[in-house]
Symmetry: C2
Subunit: 167 residues, 2 copies
């Protein structure tokens, strides 16, 4: 079923994948903290602004949380496989889960990042840059980097598809 003839190359790509997921996890965690703690009080008018006042930032948070949960699950599965020496999925389902998981999560992450950037650019145009817009941009940038790592992981898992049995 599974190609065990080249354990070294398979171990290398599994390590690269795990490394990419840990990196994504770290970047998403910082992005989440930055955007969730983002508050701003205008000293002159006393107006308070929070991330939850903007639908786009709420959507961004949802995509970060979804990506975060997915990467946590993948890391837990990797550790389980290393510790127990068993595969969690039988046959092809592991490859398909990785392939579709990475693909769908990477689409979520880039859509959240694009929505966040779009709204920050548009809402704070002509306004002098302040800590609120800076943090929102920083969070969207970290989310974009997390997306890039997931997109690379997604390319890896697509190239792993030939190892499926049904070819």
């Amino acid at each position: 079923m599974v190609d065990n003839s080249s354990p070294s190359s398979s171990t290398v790509s599994r390590t690269v994948l795990l490394f990419l997921r840990v990196l994504t996890f770290v970047f998403l965690l910082i992005a989440l903290i930055l955007i969730a703690a983002n508050k701003y009080t205008n000293d002159e008018t006393g107006d308070k602004v929070k991330f939850s006042d903007f639908y786009a930032y709420r959507y961004m948070i949802s995509t970060i949380v979804i990506g975060f949960a997915y990467n946590l699950l993948q890391m837990a599965l990797s550790i389980f496989i290393v510790v127990s020496g068993n595969r969690v999925f039988n046959g092809d389902s592991g490859y398909l889960f990785n392939f579709f998981g990475d693909k769908i999560i990477s689409y979520f992450l880039i859509s959240g990042s694009a929505a966040g950037f779009g709204v920050t650019v548009e809402m704070f145009r002509g306004v002098p840059s302040n800590s609120f817009s800076d943090k929102a941009n920083a969070s969207a940038s970290l989310l974009l980097i997390g997306f890039l790592f997931t997109a690379i992981a997604s390319t890896y898992t697509a190239f792993a598809l030939p190892k499926k049995a049904n070819n």
Copy 2:
């Protein structure tokens, strides 16, 4: 090099791919017309609003044009292959071009759609819906549908990777 033992299944998936690309092309064309022709004049104040006043809509147009050009190229290549009976790319490069092309273009399309939706929702919140925001939403929706077709095509081209020679 290329698996020619099952021409029927390969012809079917090539037809499905071409069909998905024609659909994407049509949806992107309508999305482009809708957003590029989007103007609004406020009857009371006389203020004029155009799509180019918003950075997010300009980004959206760029992603539509990129997706449009890519699908045009792919359709031209398909017609060339059918007419001449030759492959345009030798060996593996055709599969890799399709795989990375679909993957990257689908990321562009969803980011454009997300930026467009995010800004429309945020800018026209609390404002009664008008023809400008309606058309912007319609364009972003069509772009999202175009993305879905490209994402399906991208899954197809990923599953075609095992036909590469180097496995």
